[in-house]
């Protein structure tokens, strides 16, 4: 099996290297063929591995590939742990990645137009893009397949690097290169916590290996650490690691980079900033469940952060007018749902939502990209409308994706999101009732922003200019095939996987849950099949709130809009201070810009000018040089020349010091 796993990881890497370094030689077709081949191999093998786990009861694999280093008795290794959780992630990552690769052929077809004519970096940008997304696939696979903290961190940073390169793909656009710098730095703030968490693990467990750490964890559950006036070791480790997850999975207050990351081309918004990379934090916490289970403090923290993000980021989605930004805020909100599930110890539900979300959110982004292609790269939904007449496949698939997103009964998102809200409702740790309330209300917000977008884009009268309208048509098959391929699981995967994942505990040993913290067993205990689950769900508040959101959206942005085309603007004006607050995104960006970015520059300038230059250089260094110069001037009668100064200083120093030594 090791050969299979190595092939899965290396095939995309080799594709990336060939397309990246020899893109000019092999041309566009060569580049997309070789990367699609690499990712295709990885996808087929991953799905084969997944099927082995599903139907052949494959045993978990845990093995070392090579020893990175041995220092101070601690082994740092590169190796794979493939169990059911990993296999599921591998399947999701490679499948979505393959769809995105195919879609990119269409999306990037006239990328040359996006570059200034004389820019050499624009040549082969097509090939470079394929190289990056294949490199991303490699990094993400390294992350999910790791069997130790070192490689986890490697994958963690490597996906961050590719994200940086892709957000700033258009290196000539100021907005893009500001966004990628911001993304990298905010993620680094998370990694700052993450690496301290890893350091704590190394110190107390003496190992980086998951299996060893998890085996020792119960014995260390009661250990206290003398930091912050004394906290439990597990709380410290879990919260530090979770700070890393807050960066990568864009949880408040480290969420600020994700909306800006929409500067990257749409395929990577789907792949990296919706389906896979941003869910790395969710995966990581689930992987670390044996540790998180030992600290209810940390779980509460996770739960509250997730729920707050889910609700408040959804609200911001209501006032966005850029099609990708609406979907981006929706992603933030859905990530909050996943994180909240983890906080409630419903790891399986979090992973379940991760999977369904990967499909329907990738679908929504790719559909948005399809719309953007048709609109000649105008992303403002106020200029759209009536697109369903021109792009039927995009329209239908986007509708299916939206229904999955708002948890419409029967769609994949319904099963996963309902399970999360219910699990949080059963949780008894601190903050659980607040989180339950926020997540329930979130259902209304989700439906409202999703269908505002849907109606503004696909229904009503076309609002674009005549030139754009006359050119509107459905996108080519390389774009629509991935849409259809993603729409199928978006609709059905929940129905087929809810039972094994949430009821039959398919993930098994990959997840550890303490019996007294288990919030999913209620679901299992009252399980009477999918139909009954849907019927039960339709009697609960989230369903009605979601329907209310849908109806309200239909009323304003379909019914009223036909009579009053300015209704969207009027609604925002009527919102008053609330609209302003949401448009400011609660002021996080301003605050960071002023306090962190501006503050550190002011401090830096102050230290440089006053301490380095004025104090050390002017006063001490040049001062003593002047003093020596003055002294030399006194004796210059005898001899001149610079070296004399030094010789003089040297002898003087020697005499003084020897005297000192002799007297001691």
């Amino acid at each position: 099996m090791e050969t299979v796993y190595l092939t899965i990881v290396l095939a995309p890497l080799i594709g990336a290297i060939i397309a990246g370094f020899f893109g000019g030689k092999i041309g566009r077709v060569g580049a997309h063929s070789v990367t699609i081949l690499g990712v295709g191999i990885a996808t087929l093998l991953s799905l084969w591995v997944l099927s082995r786990f599903i139907w052949h009861d494959e045993q978990a694999f845990n093995g070392t590939v090579y020893t990175w280093m041995v220092a101070d008795g601690i082994r740092f290794e590169v190796g794979f742990l493939v169990d059911r959780l990993t296999a599921l992630m591998m399947g999701v990552v490679t499948f979505v990645s393959l769809m995105v690769h195919i879609y990119t052929i269409g999306y990037m077809a006239d990328d040359a137009h996006n570059w200034p004519e004389d820019s050499r970096v624009g040549t082969n940008s097509y090939q470079r893009f394929f190289s990056y997304i294949s490199l991303f696939t490699f990094s993400m696979l390294m992350l999910v397949m790791s069997n130790n903290f070192l490689q986890l961190f490697f994958g963690w940073e490597a996906v961050g690097l590719v994200s940086y390169l892709l957000i700033g793909f258009y290196t000539v656009r100021e907005s893009a290169i500001s966004a990628n710098l911001k993304a990298f730095l905010v993620n680094r703030v998370g990694d700052f916590g993450f690496i301290l968490g890893i350091a704590a693990v190394v110190m107390y467990f003496g190992s980086l290996d998951y299996a060893e750490v998890f085996a020792q964890a119960p014995a260390l559950a009661e250990t206290q650490v003398a930091v912050f006036g004394g906290v439990s070791l597990m709380t410290l480790i879990c919260i530090l690691l979770f700070i890393g997850a807050m960066g990568k999975s864009a949880q408040m207050p480290l969420h600020v980079w994700l909306p800006d990351s929409m500067e990257g081309p749409t395929p990577i918004s789907a792949l990296i900033h919706a389906a896979t990379m941003v869910t790395a934090g969710v995966f990581m916490v689930a992987r670390m469940s044996p540790l998180y289970e030992l600290s209810t403090t940390a779980l509460s923290f996770v739960l509250v952060i997730g729920a707050v993000t889910a609700f408040f980021m959804g609200l911001v989605g209501l006032v966005q007018n850029d099609i990708k930004r609406v979907v981006a805020y929706s992603t933030l909100s859905q990530l909050g749902y996943m994180i909240a599930a983890l906080g409630a110890s419903a790891y399986a539900a979090g992973i379940f939502h991760l999977m369904t979300h990967a499909f329907f959110k990738a679908l929504l982004f790719l559909a948005a990209g399809s719309v953007i292609i048709a609109m000649h790269h105008d992303q403002d939904i106020r200029n759209m409308g009536g697109l369903r007449r021109y792009m039927p496949i995009t329209w239908i698939t986007a509708l299916l994706g939206s229904l999955a997103l708002i948890a419409f009964p029967g769609f994949s998102g319904f099963f996963s999101k309902d399970a999360i809200i219910e699990a949080v409702g059963h949780s008894h740790i601190g903050g659980a009732s607040l989180a339950h309330l926020l997540l329930t209300l979130g259902a209304f917000v989700t439906a409202l922003y999703s269908f505002r977008l849907y109606f503004l884009v696909f229904h009503g009268e076309p609002r674009m200019d005549e030139h754009t309208r006359s050119h509107l048509h459905e996108t080519p098959w390389v774009v629509t095939i991935p849409l259809i391929a993603l729409a199928i699981p978006s609709v059905f995967i929940g129905w087929y996987t809810v039972e094994p994942l949430l009821v039959q505990n398919w993930l098994g040993d990959a997840i550890t849950v303490k019996p007294e913290q288990d919030t999913l067993h209620h679901l299992a205990a009252h399980w009477h099949g999918q139909r009954e689950f849907i019927r039960h769900g339709m009697q609960a508040a989230p369903f009605w709130l979601s329907m209310a959101g849908l109806v309200l959206a239909a009323y304003y942005w379909s019914y009223v809009l036909q009579r009053n085309p300015k209704i969207d603007v009027e609604l925002q004006q009527r919102g008053g201070w609330l609209t302003r607050l949401l448009e400011d995104k609660y002021g996080f960006d301003d605050f960071n810009q002023r306090v962190f970015a501006g503050g550190s520059q002011r401090i830096g300038r102050f230290l440089w000018k006053s301490s380095d230059q004025r104090m050390i250089d002017d006063a001490v260094v040049n001062g003593s040089a002047r003093a020596v110069g003055w002294l030399a001037g006194v004796v210059r009668q005898l001899q001149t020349g610079m070296l004399y100064h030094y010789a003089f200083a040297m002898i003087l120093g020697l005499v003084v010091l020897l005297t000192l030594f002799v007297t001691f």
Partner: protein, 519 residues
């Protein structure tokens, strides 16, 4: 046996002879002179590989030892030898030596034979510093090093080179005078200039502290540590590209090496007493200097400040071990010193490469002002790729060598105190901020001006230079094991050595004053 051959002497004197040959070749045939320089540099590197492959990585003993009388009347010997600490640094020196020769290939038109000679002689002297086991021999190489560096900056430097050279000379000379006094004192205590003999000499705490401070003045200036760092940005700004590379990649390491060869083993009790001072200076270097780097307007100054911040990790790794001992622990001590060592080697590659990158731009545009650039990648995509790569390495991205040392030092610092690790880890954000912001302003964006629009991408020589350094950075990042392996026995031995008190009385072991930043 092959190992009986005086390999170390060969590595020291081969480039020095090469330098003399280069001068003798005169200025008539420039091509010939350059070839001579390159041949000698490559030859020296090839010979130095014997030190790697012939090295016995199972022992902490000195190897390739050469010992003969030099000045018998004073007890001064020609005594050379290497262990797991000096050997990697010697290889770094001979490796980097090749690139500085290539860096001056086309751009040095003023007395190229002297340029080649200065760098070759410099290289031999630095190998001498790393391999000398006699204190006077060490001091001889140590001071001799200043002369070629003084000439390199003074002759091929920028407009303000006189100020920079004087400042550089004053600073380093100031430091080394005190070191000489300490060495002479140790000679009177032990009756010889044998450095290994110094290691074994028992010393009272007062004497140790005075010696420690004398060494500190010498080494802190070289590293350089806050607050004696202000010579470095000036020296870098005025130095030619090759000079900056040597300065950053190797000369700074001599300070770090000094701590390991002298301060720690000779004055372990003083090191344990004053560890708080070094730890504080190191953490200040990481944070204060990181913030100062952020606001620099000159590319070379920015990278110079970045060097100081990164060298802060080196000294932190070396002295964090005493804070670990104070917790009655030893786990993490070896990791800390090894982390500092790896950081030195890695910084050699990365800072060397970054200075070469600045050189590439300077050769074309004759300015180092960040604001004079913008959108360079539009004209120089390959160069842009290299800069982004080395910037990421400078920010400590896993998979590059820059990550290895940082990780190890942070892990070790955590063993000592949560807050040390906390402060050290701020480099993850700070280093990324100052490096990537530089990249954003210089490399990315729209073409900044007419001059940028005329830029041509890397030529084959520049590509080779940066490509090899990138490969080295990746190799250590992806597989640091061999490097750690050769250092491990020496560093384990060193850690054991510094745990044994040198105070004369037996019960003094328990009364070593405990100081530290911990509450």
């Amino acid at each position: 046996m092959l190992l009986e051959f005086p390999w170390l002497s060969l590595v020291i004197w081969l480039p020095i002879v090469g330098g003399i040959v280069a001068i003798a070749s005169g200025e008539q045939n420039v091509e010939l002179t350059k070839r001579i320089g390159l041949v000698y540099a490559v030859l020296t590197f090839v010979v130095s590989l014997v030190l790697w492959f012939g090295f016995d990585a199972t022992t902490a003993e000195m190897q390739f030892v050469e010992r003969s009388a030099w000045l018998p009347a004073l007890g001064v010997e020609y005594h050379l030898g290497i262990d797991g600490i000096s050997m990697p640094l010697i290889l770094l020196t001979t490796f980097i030596g090749i690139f500085v020769i290539i860096a001056g290939w086309d751009v040095i038109t003023h007395r190229p034979s002297h340029y080649m000679a200065a760098f070759l002689i410099m290289e031999g002297i630095m190998v001498g510093v790393f391999s000398a086991l006699d204190a006077i021999l060490f001091y001889f190489f140590w001071e001799a090093m200043l002369i070629p560096m003084f000439i390199i900056i003074g002759v091929w430097g920028g407009p303000n080179r006189v100020y920079a050279t004087i400042k550089f000379f004053l600073y380093t000379f100031f430091g080394s005078v005190f070191m000489l006094v300490a060495l002479i004192y140790l000679y009177f205590q032990t009756g010889s200039f044998d450095i290994l003999g110094f290691h074994a000499a028992p010393l009272g705490l007062t004497a140790q502290i005075l010696i420690f401070i004398a060494f500190l003045l010498a080494f802190a200036v070289k590293v350089p540590m806050f607050p004696v760092h202000t010579w470095l940005p000036d020296a870098h700004v005025e130095a030619p590209t090759g000079g900056s590379v040597i300065l950053a990649a190797i000369m700074l390491k001599i300070g770090g090496y000094g701590f390991l060869r002298f301060s720690l083993p000779i004055t372990p009790d003083a090191s344990a007493t004053l560890d708080w001072l070094i730890i504080a200076m190191s953490l200040i270097a990481v944070i204060y200097i990181g913030l100062v780097a952020l606001v620099q307007q000159d590319m070379k100054k920015l990278i110079a400040y970045s060097s100081i911040a990164h060298m802060g990790f080196v000294t932190l790794g070396f002295f964090i071990i005493f804070a670990i001992f104070q917790r009655a622990e030893t786990a993490g001590a070896v990791m800390g010193i090894e982390g500092g060592m790896v950081q030195m080697i890695s910084h050699g590659f990365i800072s060397g490469a970054l200075f070469l990158c600045v050189g590439v731009l300077y050769d074309r545009m004759h300015t180092r002002e960040i604001s004079a650039y913008g959108g360079v990648i539009n004209r120089m995509p390959w160069f842009g790729a290299f800069v982004v790569f080395f910037a990421m390495a400078n920010a400590g991205l896993p998979g590059t060598s820059g990550f290895v040392g940082e990780l190890m030092v942070i892990l070790a610092a955590f063993q000592a105190d949560f807050w040390f690790a906390f402060l050290a880890a701020t480099t993850l954000v700070l280093a990324a901020a100052f490096t990537l912001w530089l990249v954003k302003r210089v490399i990315f964006g729209e073409v900044g001006n007419e001059q940028v629009a005329k830029l041509e991408d890397l030529n084959r020589r520049e590509t080779l230079n940066l490509g090899v350094l990138a490969a080295a950075t990746l190799a250590i990042g992806l597989w640091p094991k061999p490097l750690i392996q050769v250092m491990e026995p020496t560093i384990v031995h060193l850690v054991q050595q510094v745990q044994v008190s040198k105070l004369p009385t037996v019960d003094a072991v328990d009364t070593v004053p405990v100081a530290g930043l911990q509450p």
